[in-house]
């Protein structure tokens, strides 16, 4: 039994079938990178794992327990599976500290002082202690994204989903976010990340999945996918990435 098992997942938006039978397994402490052309369904897949989208066919199991379909306690699932979005989605009317403590105090019923202490420890770790009382619009994009990661980490998830979290950042701010991810990977956090940062994927991924046509078209260890892709579509995609100077 794997940590996360995705079996034959289909997802339709009306007549538009975006996922057409996704199969994917993730082991604990693995970092899995989803790559593929824009619109191939990376975000949709991550949102399905987190229960933000309903799937029409197939199933997803976490620790052997089914987390899709009727009767699943989504609020409970989301305590275990955190997600970080491309556009940060911090709560603009709350301070950084409040953003981080909201879910622990309201969902886990953690006492306020404990939640604050934990949040401050997380902020210290990402080097933003001094911004605890700041509002999101007073932070740079990179700082906001690090806070968003801290907000997800505050729930101590078993699995962290990251959806192109550096795509909305100015180039000089990307590295501060990637450094944080690197550290998380080193500590053994299980992560699935949709990304266009091929260099980073190559460096940290345990497994790289190329999505195309609503399925996982090719998967394998990063060296194989990036240096010796087997299938034509994968080769074309990587060629276009190289042409754009992103690999």
């Amino acid at each position: 039994m794997s940590f996360l098992e995705i079996r034959n997942v289909h997802k339709r938006f009306g007549a538009n079938e975006v996922l057409r039978g996704i199969n994917l397994t993730v082991e604990e402490h693995q970092v899995v990178c989803l790559i593929g052309p824009s619109g191939c369904g990376k975000s949709t897949l991550l949102r399905c794992i987190n229960g933000l989208e309903e799937i029409q066919e197939g199933e997803i199991r976490l620790h052997g327990d089914r987390i899709t379909g009727p009767g699943v306690d989504l609020n409970a699932l989301r305590r275990d599976v955190g997600i970080v979005f491309q556009s940060f989605n911090l709560f603009p009317h709350m301070t950084v500290l409040q953003n981080i403590t909201l879910a622990p105090t309201q969902v886990l019923r953690m006492p306020e002082p404990e939640a604050r202490a934990k949040a401050l420890a997380l902020l210290k770790r990402i080097g933003l202690e001094h911004k605890a009382q700041a509002y999101p619009d007073q932070l740079s994009g990179g700082q906001q994204q690090r806070v968003a990661i801290a907000r997800a980490l505050a729930m101590e998830p078993m699995l962290l989903l990251l959806d192109e979290i550096t795509s909305a950042l100015d180039p000089e701010l990307v590295s501060e976010v990637l450094n944080l991810l690197r550290e998380l990977a080193r500590e053994g956090m299980t992560m699935i990340l949709a990304t266009h940062e091929m260099g980073f994927a190559r460096e940290v991924a345990s497994k790289v999945c190329f999505m195309y046509g609503g399925v996982v078209h090719e998967e394998g260890p990063p060296e194989q996918i990036f240096s010796n892709p087997q299938r034509e579509r994968t080769q074309q995609f990587l060629a276009s990435i190289i042409e754009a100077g992103r690999l």
Partner: protein, 366 residues
Amino acid sequence: MTEPNSKELRRRHPIPPKDGFGFALLALILAVALWLATGWVMWLVKQTMTANGFQASWADALLVLFALLPSGLLWSALRSLGQARRARQALQSENLIAARVHSSEAHTWAWFTLGYVGALVLFLLFVLFFIANNVAVGRTFFQLELIRNSFGLILQAFWVNVVIFLFAGVFSLIWGLVVAIAKLLPGKPAQPIRFIATFYTDAFLSLPSIIVIYLIGFGLPLTGIGFFRNLPLEALAVLALTLTYGAYMAEVYRAGLESIHPSQWAAARSLGLSYGQTLRFVVVPQAVRRIIPPLLNNFIGMQKDTALVNVVGVIDAFNQARIIASNDFNLSAVTTVAILFILITIPQTRLVDRLVERDRARFRQG
């Protein structure tokens, strides 16, 4: 080949500005005419006062002051003219930059003069209307004697309006939020609730409030149900206004809640917050800022509608004033009510403007 040539031509011979002399002259003529007209109107006022045996040195002083007021416009018109002359001189000496500066000044001052001329003309027309037919307008609406005598009674009755709109205001704010949330409840089980809430808002948005007040104020006591029979009319009025304005408030809330980007919902739900917690901690606090101005506007609208409760016999300020007016064949008491409504509403509309402006400033900051 004419194209580059004409461009070349334009570059070598920039368009010279107009000196604005004619415009300045027009402003001056109008200012002088207005000055004369003001003097004439004040003279008419003085005659009317004499005809009615009214004599007071402070009033005379006031009239003289008003008659002198437009001389300020002569100053601004002359200033415009001076700038126009300097612009003309600059044009003659081919100093284009100076000409533009003076021409622009001349135009600004001429427009300034015209703006005030327009406002003053309106004021003079109002004064003429007021004193027309031997102060008939003034007597009908502004009989000071009557206003003074009835003021206490009217103010007391106005208190009824205040109480009604304060209660109905608070209730409709709460009720509207309940309805809005009912309309936004997700899922199939909530479908009947959504349907009822939608029907309610549709119905009460289309019903004139005067009809609701009439139906509730007369109808409910007629049903003979003890509870309604013993309620004071004012409470029924509050109920009617709450039902009507609750629908308006609900629409404002709903627009506000729906204006919060779905990504905020996704972020909150993905952290494990329930639907209710997401509303309470994330969506409502953000929406409230945006909806306070439109809510306040509805509140102001409701204040005005408290004057409608007279149809069921509540003695509010308007009803009281009508009684006085029909006794005296004079509308001055109603004027008092009008002034009271204006007095309580103006600070609120200013407040709305301030809030909107503040919100805009925040938005501009990013």
